[in-house]
């Protein structure tokens, strides 16, 4: 089964014809940006990600690479501010929340059409919400619908139906849609900015998508026919090789300057840097810490995102002597975070005070801190009777995450710091996927370990709740007080009410010290000097309509 380009080009021809017709029909529309219609800009923008997208239907995706593509093709009701994770108008220009937090009214943008000419209106919005809610049970799992399942807590059917937060969507008029919820959901607006909840064309979904398919990620829609309202239309996808997008000439907003965007997967960060140097790509994501300096000095652009992640050293309290608070404090005092950062993270990375980055709601500097103090660490170990104790140190290999660009180096520095205060370290490495995760999260067979998390949208529960929401084999402790506090905070109807609650929880966590938050590494993008207009975003809401190549 080979994907024949002839087939594809005829499909593209059809699409182009449709586009041409539609642009004739709407040529009288106010067009503030004439030059992108042909004369100015143009060219191909080649971007290297670290892996292949999983699904072109973002609803069935939960990985960054699928979302990167989705951001170009699709838009959600809500967008984010340019340099933060805060909500901003998207396909909805404004919205109102009822006082009880159970009803949201969205006022939609006028004159928006999907790339297949289906009008974007309240009906389309409700089509999307109803589709999500009514997912067949075969798709109701963490594999395919992680974000909906986690955030909306359930579907119309299935064993989680009683927990479902969504109630109904009504089209009040053409441009007004009201969503009713069964329970308050303070993060609702923030969540709507996630690519998983992009608005997709009902016509295209009807025609190409099959939500009930054995694997909804391999349907015609999810591999070859995604249709949204964004500045780029899907062109082709040669698996493992490249994914090509073309400019959507009837985009409602600022039209793209480049003609074509190509996304290629290169898994090794050094290989991405070399490809940029060699002019094979124009930009890439996740610059390795060792490449930042050299690339900059060679005249390439490095753009840093505001970090929206956290790396921590977890401690398993099921393993002695880690159940002793004094030992945990000793380990915290033994770690020189600055040195860890300089050996294994990009320049500009700040050490972490708590388990969320500063940009997340509920962050407070008013928590217990544990400065680098080896003598203090030795004292504490002595008090605990744990001098010279042997501690197993688990770390992953074969992985690079935004919060953990070089785990081997991070492990190595922390190991030598812990050895410095007299602890004996037994290194245990496992391949990241799935051995390491399985060992850390599925068993109690680990001591201290490296792990972290990258936030999806601005919601504190997306960090703290994920880590400490209940008893887990990762941490091996039972702290009902903490679990209750988190459950309560999650149920509060507004973000304003959540802020003080999460500040309290952060203090509670840092007193209890289940692990040592290390840092929030700065994720960087590398760009060729010829590229301009690329706007980095902390939640990777980076749309390439503003990008141009000289």
């Amino acid at each position: 089964m080979k994907r024949s380009r002839r087939f594809r080009s005829s499909a593209a021809l059809l699409a182009a014809t449709a586009l041409a017709l539609s642009s004739c029909a709407e040529s009288q529309r106010d067009d503030s940006d004439d030059e992108s219609d042909g004369s100015g800009g143009g060219g191909t923008f080649v971007f290297a990600g670290s892996a292949e997208p999983v699904s072109l239907d973002p609803f069935f995706a939960s990985d960054g690479e699928s979302f990167r593509v989705a951001r170009q093709i699709f838009e959600g009701l809500v967008s984010t501010e340019e340099d933060s994770a805060d909500p901003a108008p998207g396909l909805a220009e404004t919205w109102e929340v009822a006082d009880d937090g159970l009803s949201y009214t969205f006022n939609l943008r006028e004159g928006v059409t999907f790339q297949d000419d289906t009008p974007f209106d309240a009906e389309a919005v409700c089509y999307n919400f109803d589709r999500w809610y009514n997912m067949p049970e075969s798709a109701q799992n963490d594999e395919y619908t992680y974000y909906y399942g986690t955030l909306f807590r359930g579907f119309a059917t299935g064993d989680r139906k009683d927990a479902a937060v969504f109630d109904s969507c009504t089209a009040d008029d053409e441009l007004t849609a009201t969503i009713k919820l069964k329970a308050p959901f303070a993060g609702f607006i923030s969540a709507m900015s996630m690519p998983a909840f992009s608005m997709q064309s009902p016509t295209a979904l009807e025609k190409w998508q099959d939500d009930g398919a054995n694997n909804p990620r391999t349907t015609d829609y999810s591999t070859a026919h995604p249709v949204g309202t964004g500045p780029f239309v899907f062109d082709s996808w040669e698996r493992g090789d490249r994914l090509t997008l073309k400019r959507y000439d009837d985009y409602w907003g600022e039209k793209a300057i480049i003609d074509t965007a190509v996304i290629v997967p290169i898994d090794d960060s050094k290989a991405r840097a070399d490809a940029l140097r060699n002019g094979e790509i124009d930009a890439f994501d996740l610059v390795g810490p060792a490449d930042v300096g050299p690339l900059e000095s060679e005249g390439f652009q490095i753009q840093n995102r505001e970090p929206f992640n956290i790396l921590y050293l977890g401690m398993n309290q099921k393993q002695a002597p880690l159940d002793d608070l004094k030992v945990r404090q000793a380990i915290a005092h033994a770690i020189d975070k600055e040195a860890v950062i300089s050996a294994s993270m990009p320049e500009g990375t700040q050490p972490a005070l708590e388990f969320i980055p500063p940009t997340v709601n509920g962050y407070t500097e008013d928590v217990a801190t544990y400065d680098y103090d080896p003598d203090r660490a030795r004292d504490l170990l002595e008090q605990a009777g744990a001098e010279g104790a042997t501690i197993e140190f688990n770390y992953p290999t074969g992985v690079s995450r935004p919060y953990m660009p070089q785990p081997e180096d991070t492990f190595n520095v922390i190991r030598s710091q812990l050895a410095e205060v007299g602890l004996k370290i037994k290194p245990t490495a496992d391949v990241w996927d799935p051995d390491y995760l399985e060992k850390i999260q599925g068993t109690s067979d680990h001591g201290i370990h490296l792990l972290g998390w990258t936030g999806d949208y601005n919601d504190t529960d997306n960090f703290l709740g994920v880590f400490f929401g209940g008893e887990s084999s990762e941490w091996g402790f039972d702290n009902p007080e903490l679990f209750d506090a988190l459950r309560e905070a999650r149920g509060l109807p507004t973000v304003e009410e959540q802020t003080p609650a999460y500040e309290e929880i952060n203090k509670m966590v840092m007193d209890f010290l289940p692990g040592v938050p290390i840092a929030s590494p700065v994720p960087s993008l590398g760009l060729s000097p010829d590229v301009s207009g690329y706007e980095a975003s902390p939640v990777q809401n980076e749309v390439w309509n503003t990008v141009s190549i000289d």
């Binding site: 799992n141 594999e143 990620r217 290629v264 290169i266 070399d274 790509i281 999260q441 792990l451």
Partner: protein
């Protein structure tokens, strides 16, 4: 001869059946849960249970194997757990990349190796011979991945003469019919695309072709040297035949049989090197994907790919053995 060939093909059936069983047991012996590989960092126990059930990993092993074998006999190798893509089509997509790489490496090795070996044999003990012999020794002992890294660092990363990654420039919008990129470019008349694909192959082919090159040089040299000492060559010389006629009619033809066998053997061995070369040069071929599948516990891909490779590998070995049979009839009765 034909009976020998048929018998050998027939022998492949139990070998492959045995392999499919061993493979099946092997992938399940791999530590690590494919469900967790699929769900990643924050998999919930319910999610894991659902995936495990959906893929039938909780059923008895023999039942899973029977199901697998049944599907296999209908040509259904299953779908990748990670991407959902059918194993057969994902193999078909990637195989051309590996073949293209392997063939160009072999071509490089043969085109350079045979003349070099021949010349070395004709000029034994002279500087060309010394150079060829010591050069080929170096070629044999240099690890493929070390050579690949060095080539890439020098010619791509430092000199910027050649591309570092992939099979074709992303800015070229080429038509792909067969997925053999060079062939596609020629077929469609997109010669720039064909050229670009060829340029992308230079470094990987050099890296992968060096060991076969070294071996071919050595075998050719030894084989030609031996033939040169044979009585009939001396007789021909004594008869006053022109040196060129002797070398064409007697030496080359007689010396080439072992060389041809070696070339066939190397073709099979290229698979091992391809895993490493594809990894270094980011080539989306069978080797690289297979390696990823191992770390991701992608059972169907692992089983299917290794079976495919084993079939191809066995066929190549069969061809080699057949060519042996041509030279030495005794092997037909083992």
């Amino acid at each position: 001869m034909l009976r020998f060939a048929l018998r050998r093909v027939g022998l492949m059936v139990p070998v492959l059946l045995g392999l499919s069983l061993l493979l099946f047991m092997w992938v399940r012996a791999l530590p690590g849960d494919p469900a967790r590989a699929l769900l990643g960092e924050r998999a919930t126990p319910e999610g894991l249970a659902r995936v495990t059930e959906a893929y039938g990993f909780d059923r008895p092993l023999w039942e899973q194997y029977v199901t697998y074998l049944g599907a296999l006999l209908q040509g259904d190798f299953g779908n990748s757990i990670k991407t959902g893509q059918p194993v057969v089509s994902s193999f078909a997509d990637r195989f051309p990349a590996t073949v293209e790489l392997g063939l160009s490496a072999l071509l490089f090795a043969v085109l350079l190796g045979v003349p070099l070996g021949y010349l070395a044999a004709r000029h034994q003990g002279r500087w060309l011979d010394t150079l060829a012999v010591s050069g080929s020794l170096l070629g044999v002992v240099t690890p493929v991945f070390f050579l690949a890294i060095l080539l890439k660092l020098v010619f791509a990363d430092t000199l910027h003469w050649l591309p570092t990654v992939g099979r074709q420039d992303a800015r070229i919008d080429a038509t792909h019919i067969t997925n053999f990129y060079i062939l596609d470019g020629v077929l469609t008349g997109e010669y720039d695309a064909a050229w670009d694909a060829a340029v992308h192959l230079v470094l990987p082919a050099l890296a992968l072709g060096t060991i076969p090159l070294a071996i071919i040089v050595r075998i050719t040299r030894a084989s030609v040297a031996e033939v040169l000492h044979e009585d009939y060559v001396r007789t021909a010389e004594a008869k006053g035949l022109a040196a060129r006629t002797i070398s064409r009619r007697h030496v080359l033809r007689n010396a080439m049989l072992p060389v041809a066998t070696t070339i066939g053997l190397q073709a099979g061995l290229l698979f091992s090197g391809a895993v490493l070369t594809e990894t270094v040069f980011g080539i989306n071929g069978v080797g690289q994907y297979l390696f990823t599948a191992i770390s991701q516990r992608d059972y169907p891909v692992l089983q299917g790919y290794i079976l495919f490779i084993a079939v191809i590998y066995s066929l190549i070995n069969l061809l080699v053995d057949l060519s042996y049979g041509l030279i030495d009839p005794r092997v037909r009765t083992p």
